[in-house]
């Protein structure tokens, strides 16, 4: 079986200082944006520390320029030699083509898939299921129900994340990326309940994210959430957190994870 994976999630936004440049940011509950630096140099740090893959998501609500995103991915892929997932504003086939040609291995999409689920099948048939990642942002609403959200967490849909996950798999998604809006950036632990429900309901790999603040949180994601991968943004953006250290702690908790040599 493939090893469990540990994935830094790099969120990008237009810099508030330079509108022609996208920078790396961290968020809390999809708000409270903090600019933390350059995506390419941060990727190199992650590579040196032996991350298993990288995920890049453009979370800018205004700027969904695919070319700008593709330029960053192009620069990254000249120096980064691991699988790369890219998303944020992907809404048609041309976006897939541009991002793949610039070094992406997998493409993630959320809003476009919810608006037109048939696009999942189309993309999967054309580029292969291994290339299609459906990103599911979800939260517990005021009624205590889990709901899928689109447009960077601003719009709540009627979809339940578990039902939507099953639908995505049926339509040809190769992988799911779950993000808990409530736990995002809070460092209070992953949503294990929902992660497990989805991971047990589908046959495709599930990446869960949102809330990792301790190495133990990652271990819980694999062991109790049954996730194939755990992604984190805030956790790794703080320089005192180091992959190699986290990895050994996760391994010691009994998870089959790659030990970087």
């Amino acid at each position: 079986m493939a090893r469990k994976r540990l994935i830094p999630k790099l969120q990008l936004m237009t810099s508030s200082y330079r509108t022609d440049k996208m920078v790396l940011v961290i968020t809390r509950q999809f708000h409270d944006v903090t600019e933390i630096g350059d995506a390419v140099s941060q990727s190199k740090i992650y590579q040196d520390q032996g991350a298993d893959e990288l995920i890049f998501i453009n979370i800018d609500r205004e700027n969904k320029n695919i070319r700008m995103l593709a330029e960053i991915i192009h620069k990254v892929s000249e120096e980064i030699f691991m699988p790369i997932t890219v998303g944020g504003g992907v809404s048609d086939e041309e976006h897939f083509r541009i991002l793949l040609a610039n070094g992406a291995d997998k493409i993630s999409m959320n809003t476009a898939a919810v608006s037109d689920p048939s696009f999942i099948s189309l993309a999967s048939a054309k580029y292969g299921a291994q290339c299609v990642v459906i990103s599911i942002d979800y939260k517990l609403n005021a009624q205590g129900q889990y709901r899928v959200c689109t447009r960077n967490g601003t719009e709540e849909t009627n979809l339940h994340p578990v039902e939507w996950a099953i639908e995505c798999e049926k339509r040809g998604a190769g992988e799911l990326l779950l993000s808990s809006i409530s736990h995002d950036g809070m460092r209070d632990g992953l949503d294990i309940t929902l992660t497990k429900q989805i991971a047990d309901a589908v046959g495709i790999p599930v990446i869960t994210s949102g809330g990792c603040g301790l190495a133990q949180h990652f271990a819980e994601g694999y062991l109790y959430g049954h996730a194939h991968a755990v992604a984190a943004g805030t956790f790794f953006a703080h320089r005192d957190q180091n992959f190699m250290q986290t990895r050994s702690q996760i391994k010691n908790a009994g998870v089959d994870i790659r030990v970087y040599t």
Binding site: F81, G128, E175, R258
Partner: protein, 206 residues
């Protein structure tokens, strides 16, 4: 010394190109069979379906050109993923299709009995390497390498196999015969260990 990457119009060559370039090799993207005249070593990358791959290789005239440069002239050649599978006699992916026929092998679907093992298998797997070959110089005997595939090369001649991994059954992860080397895993996506294999190919003198 120039390394030619065969571009038969499918898949993403950028990562493979970047890896060779990063290691200081002189790389040329070969979009026509004639481009192969100017290179000393050949890399056949590939992502996608076997049928599309071989039909493009046939249509673009790469089939004869690759036979000439790799088989007759003996240029060191490396296949990656689908670029490995296409070197088999035939593949059963989506029908039955002939390949380049450089290896006495057939490409068949992964067939784990364990239902927890998914197809395609995507991710880092522990691969057992025959470290006595020059291409695996400096490598550990067990290396975590990145794979994405549903089909694999099942070899008639076991001596061609230089790496395997276990997915409820043995899966060919790399083959070597004379001047032809091929990997099912993606060295260009396998970080340091992958780059080491690419570097070994750059300096390889079969």
């Amino acid at each position: 010394m120039t390394i030619g990457i065969v571009d038969y119009g499918m898949g993403n060559l950028l990562s493979v190109y970047s890896a060779f370039d990063y290691l200081g090799a002189q790389v040329k993207i070969c979009t026509t069979p004639d481009d192969l005249n100017a290179v000393d070593k050949i890399v056949i990358p590939g992502v996608g379906a076997f049928k599309d791959c071989i039909s493009r290789i046939d249509m673009n005239g790469f089939h004869e050109a690759l036979d000439e440069h790799t088989r007759q002239k003996g240029k060191p050649t490396m296949g990656i993923c689908l670029g490995m599978q296409v070197m088999a006699q035939k593949s059963f992916e989506g029908g039955e299709f002939h390949g380049l026929g450089w290896f006495d092998a057939e490409v068949i679907r992964l067939h784990p009995k364990n239902r927890d093992l998914h197809i395609p298998n995507i991710g880092w797997n522990e691969v057992l390497l025959n470290t006595s070959i020059p291409l695996f110089k400096g490598m550990p005997q067990k290396a975590d390498l990145y794979l994405v595939h549903s089909f694999y090369m099942s070899c008639q001649s076991k001596t061609d196999i230089v790496a395997e991994y276990y997915y409820n059954h043995a899966v060919t992860a790399a083959v070597l015969k004379d001047n032809v080397f091929a990997t099912q895993f993606h060295p260009e996506k396998s970080q340091d260990l992958g780059l080491r294999i690419i570097d070994n190919f750059i300096t390889w003198n079969p």
